[in-house]
Symmetry: C2
Subunit: 352 residues, 2 copies
Amino acid sequence: MSAPTMQEVAKRANVALSTVSYALNGTRPVSEETRLRISRAMSDLGYQPHALARGLASKRSHIIALLFPALPRGLGATELEFVTGAAEAAQRCGYHLVLWPTEIHGVSELQQLVRQSLVDGVLVMEVRLSDDRIELLRQIGVPFSMIGRPSDPADMSFADIDFEQTTRDAVAYLVQLGHRQIAFLNHSEELFNAGYGASVRAAAGFEQAARDAGLTPITRFCGDTALAGQEVFEELIRAHPDVTALASMNERATVGVMQAAATGGWKIPDDLSVVSLVSSARVAEMTLPPLTALTPQSAELGRLGVETLIGQLEEDHIELVQRLLPCRLVIRGSAGPSPDPARRSPLTAASD
Amino acid sequence: MSAPTMQEVAKRANVALSTVSYALNGTRPVSEETRLRISRAMSDLGYQPHALARGLASKRSHIIALLFPALPRGLGATELEFVTGAAEAAQRCGYHLVLWPTEIHGVSELQQLVRQSLVDGVLVMEVRLSDDRIELLRQIGVPFSMIGRPSDPADMSFADIDFEQTTRDAVAYLVQLGHRQIAFLNHSEELFNAGYGASVRAAAGFEQAARDAGLTPITRFCGDTALAGQEVFEELIRAHPDVTALASMNERATVGVMQAAATGGWKIPDDLSVVSLVSSARVAEMTLPPLTALTPQSAELGRLGVETLIGQLEEDHIELVQRLLPCRLVIRGSAGPSPDPARRSPLTAASD
DNA sequence: ACGTGCCGTCGAAGCGCTTCGACTATACGT
DNA sequence: ACGTATAGTCGAAGCGCTTCGACGGCACGT
């Protein structure tokens, strides 16, 4: 009734326990004939190696941990895709993926986790520019890789979205549509200051791209709510009435902008173009009009993270993998040719 | 440098290896004094028990698996919350949660995974009315619990959304606003026929609730896309011009409905009320106007699922836990008093 | 005084696997 | 003929823990 052991397989195949192990792992040569006997015995018994025992003896559990931040307002469709992609990749590689919710600064929990020697390595999500967890992992010497990266990822492996490229692409697209006054809508200043990579890198990318295109960058921080989006947008248009396009990193705020624009009598994209940065299809398709967006390859990122980590675990010559994945531009309905801002009807302030 | 073992702790505390174990697990009485010596030794060395060794010896790995469907179009914010809730609950209970992406019918993979005796139990997500995985788990005799439930969950533990109640609440709310012609927008007929519990139970709940309220239920299947939503909506209004309210199970389609309504010149909620069923805040806040919705307590559901499972693992008298959680009505802007359908301007068909 | 408990502790036997050293048999060069 | 590799196999020693049986005390009852 209980699961068959390697011993039973050995007996049934008339070989020593160790020979079964060699046949299973290819650790030492085994003759074709006995290999056959063994594998027949295994399938007769429906044998599956006992993961814990294997792990204990070999010191490789074939389990990796996915560290993900516990309760940011943040986790959305993009993150789900990471996780799914990572889980599938792990499974394909014969690994198990355990989910480990941690606060960014929850270093002691991390330490506990790692010390249990349950996991061979760790995949860290949502890495901040300066991230305690990374420091700790290096110190302990646990193999790890990241989705995202700290400010100086010198000798560490990571896979991340190419935020610089993404903003550059957005600006290029808008410029090509004739826009000359483009505003950038970021997350909140708090997140930016907390060293949230997406926020910081995209901002820098935008500044650079705008300058390179000969434009004056206009940027705004904004809380991650529709309401904040409305308010910031109204302030923005008041301060820069000639803005014709918006590149936004902040999905929730984007919705607010669109609401404010609609309430104020503006049509998108006729009166204002909006491009949503690092935005999943799931979200981009929900608005009216649907958002032209730069969509991250999230599942791919998760996959890469896992494969990089497992590579580190299995190869002996550890090679550094640092990959930046661009987002893909998906054109929907929210961006169009630049209007003449002068001809545009004034935004009628929304009354509460 | 490598992690300290129980043996080293024992030596340092001048006791036998087994005594340390007893002190750690409370398996047998240990005098206050030695307990102290031991715990000091442990913290001196920074000892953490080795999870694999513990699991191998005790036959309880303290790992549970979360089975989640690999690639339905479906996984959204709600599912992410499940997962997060489950992961946190597991952690709080001292368990690890491993993610197992599996196809609903991928029974052989499941078997392989379980046979590895890596996990003490399994939490199954997205259970279908008739679900191969459940059958298998019962057969093998692995402890499991479910988020969702099959058609006859007789003696199995589960936590699920109370779809019947949810639709009843939606109908009651709309009726109270004066609506008498209420349509129900379901997922696709394929999903319904595949025994997707949410779809089947909500449909039944709606029929019942409508009849109980003295209304004639009007229902439509609809693909999970905005486009399908538009088309179904236009057909619906043509067939039932007096419909004034819509209760929708299908978020993507809901967006399509709102787009079609807007394009056709209808205002929501003035010309049409929309209530979104089993819809996360994340999504409901994205539309214009934001959706009045019945929001599932997803994290709670995940937590319950995990706790139920762990209860089964740790108690000796196994008690059956079957919980139905109602959704909570969150009033936003998409539902209002019933208009007079006769006074409503005709829907101008959208041209492509 | 002497059993009879129970408390607190110890040593040893596993849990199911990997891996090391050793051994046999065959194949090779010289 | 001899050493010497190499393929193929075996037995045994762990990996770090739990758990069982045993045993020396000390407090009881009588």
